[in-house]
């Protein structure tokens, strides 16, 4: 079987199961292919191809159309978040984040056959373990708790770039701006006073300096910023947005500072931060899938509005912080801070509270 896969070991096992062969009779050839963004952990089309080949008794080429993929493939599950922050004398003394979601499918076991088997047998849902291991409020917010309440529905799901953080941490960073607004303090200064990590404060300081945080801007335009810590790395994004045409907001500038402990390929790291901002601004502003009476509305790139050149910032200035430790992750790191920076900029530019996404077609 030839296909683009991030989990060839477990895929071979599942293909063997599907067509009644011993696992060692299935050979997977991993071919070069487009980006994954979570999707290539799965192998649905490869299983179908094997089944079709068995029925037909001959080699087959099987390809899903874009419409098949968008309407019947896997999606990031929708989630709903309720956050309560208890404020006392300018401090946050309790922070409760409650999230309800359709269950993320981790059946691939992140790629190897043993954990995939474990995932299918575990008594506690794997999703709870992944959520607990990955989610943490990086601020001194007193008693901080985050709970995921997820249910499996007949809805094909997949983790996306940033897994839970793309939603959970993005929400936290939007709420941090809301708290700062309530307390009438500057969102950058507020973050700085409540963050515990010196590395995170350093990337925040870097983007506020390079991005000239707080500069005077025309009505309908604004800056927004956010930070994120994960994978032994930290990142901050500052963006500027032009919302004078509410139906067509444009992120006009991006500034990023990233500390991955020990950068190995700084140009590649810069590219990941530039790209993830486009990814994040798309999901935050324009690109969503809607379910109408059980059917998926969007079918292709005509109505699923992933950003093109005209919706992307002409420049994204990335500072790679000096090496200071062990290498951390970068590919998924940038999404939550980039998404929240865009949402916070939109809220500041329009004087609104953003609570449904994508903002333009929520």
């Amino acid at each position: 079987v030839w296909f683009g896969s991030k989990s060839p070991i477990v895929a071979a096992q599942r293909i063997a199961d599907a067509i009644g062969l011993p696992a060692d009779r299935v050979t997977l050839h991993v071919v070069r292919s487009g980006g994954s963004f979570g999707h290539r952990l799965f192998f649905d089309a490869a299983v179908e191809a094997a089944q079709a080949s068995k029925v037909l008794g001959r080699p087959v080429k099987l390809m899903w159309t874009r419409n098949d993929d968008m309407r019947h493939g896997r999606m990031r599950p929708p989630s709903r978040h309720a956050v309560r922050a208890t404020l006392l004398l300018g401090n946050v003394v309790a922070y409760e984040h409650r999230q309800a979601s359709i269950e993320v499918d981790f059946d691939h076991g992140l790629g190897d056959a043993l954990t995939a088997t474990g995932a299918s047998l575990a008594s506690e849902p794997v999703t709870q373990g992944v959520y607990r291991l990955s989610q943490r409020v990086p601020y001194d917010f007193g008693v901080a708790t985050e709970l995921l309440n997820d249910v499996a529905l007949a809805f094909p799901t997949s983790s996306w770039r940033s897994i839970y953080s793309g939603q959970t941490s993005t929400v936290n960073e939007i709420v941090v701006d809301e708290i700062a607004r309530t307390l009438r303090v500057d969102p950058a200064a507020f973050r700085r006073s409540k963050l515990s990590s010196a590395r995170t404060k350093a990337v925040l300081d870097e983007v506020t300096r390079r991005g000239r945080w707080g500069r005077t801007m025309p009505a309908g335009t604004a800056q927004g910023l956010a930070v994120h810590e994960e994978y032994k790395s930290v990142v901050a994004f500052l963006v500027e947005i032009d919302c004078r045409d509410r139906a067509h907001p444009r992120v006009t500038k991006g500034v990023c500072a990233v500390d991955v402990g020990r950068p190995v390929n700084p140009r590649g790291l810069e590219a990941q931060m530039q790209g993830v901002l486009v990814d994040a601004l798309s999901m935050t502003l324009f690109a969503g899938v809607h379910i109408d009476n059980g059917a998926v509305r969007e079918g292709s790139y005509s109505d699923y509005h992933f950003a093109r050149m005209a919706q992307s910032p002409p420049t994204v200035d990335v500072t790679v912080m000096a090496p200071n430790g062990e290498p951390g992750g970068a590919g998924e790191l940038g999404f939550p801070a980039a998404a929240a920076a865009v949402a916070n900029a939109y809220a500041r530019a329009t004087g609104t509270t953003v609570s449904r996404f994508p903002i333009v077609s929520a």
């Binding site: 292919s33 159309t65 140009r267 990814d279 005509s302 050149m309 994204v316």
Partner: protein
């Protein structure tokens, strides 16, 4: 099946295909020319962007019959022998590609833009409508400006 003859990357090419078969599948499945990519099949993602008589077009929505007697250029035909096209070289110099899937189409769109507008502004570059799911637009823009000034 009908026989169609057109110029493909400088060489006369004859292929048997149904008249309404999109050129993309004629190129990829019958002729083994896989630079033009499938991303949507309806002319909106632009991953298959190639040139027909020198102008950008989308083979996924162009029947092979429309190409008879004309000149089709794909990414495979852009370089001059072992010398890369200046836009290809600019792409390497700016280290544009991430996953690479959309990049042949992006390069072909950029070449077509520069042919009609040798010094495009940022607003002119915004007219390129090709999707890049990795979000390489910042470096695509830089590569186009670099190629324009070279």
């Amino acid at each position: 099946m009908t026989s169609f003859t057109f110029t493909l990357n400088g060489r006369s090419t004859t292929v048997d295909a149904p008249a309404d078969e999109p050129l993309l599948w004629v190129l990829r499945d019958r002729l083994g020319v896989t630079g033009p990519k499938y991303g949507c099949g309806v002319g909106v993602c632009k991953a298959c962007t190639s040139h027909l008589d020198g102008a950008a077009f989308n083979p996924c929505i162009t029947p092979v019959s429309e190409c008879a007697g004309r000149a089709v250029t794909t990414i495979e035909g852009l370089a001059n022998g072992s010398t890369l096209h200046p836009v290809q070289q600019a792409w390497i110099d700016e280290d544009v590609a991430q996953c690479g899937f959309c990049q042949p189409g992006q390069i072909m769109a950029a070449v077509a833009l520069l042919r009609s507008n040798p010094t495009p502004s940022d607003a002119d570059i915004d007219a390129i409508d090709n999707v890049c799911r990795c979000g390489t637009y910042v470096r695509i823009r830089a590569a186009i400006h670099r190629a324009a000034s070279s």
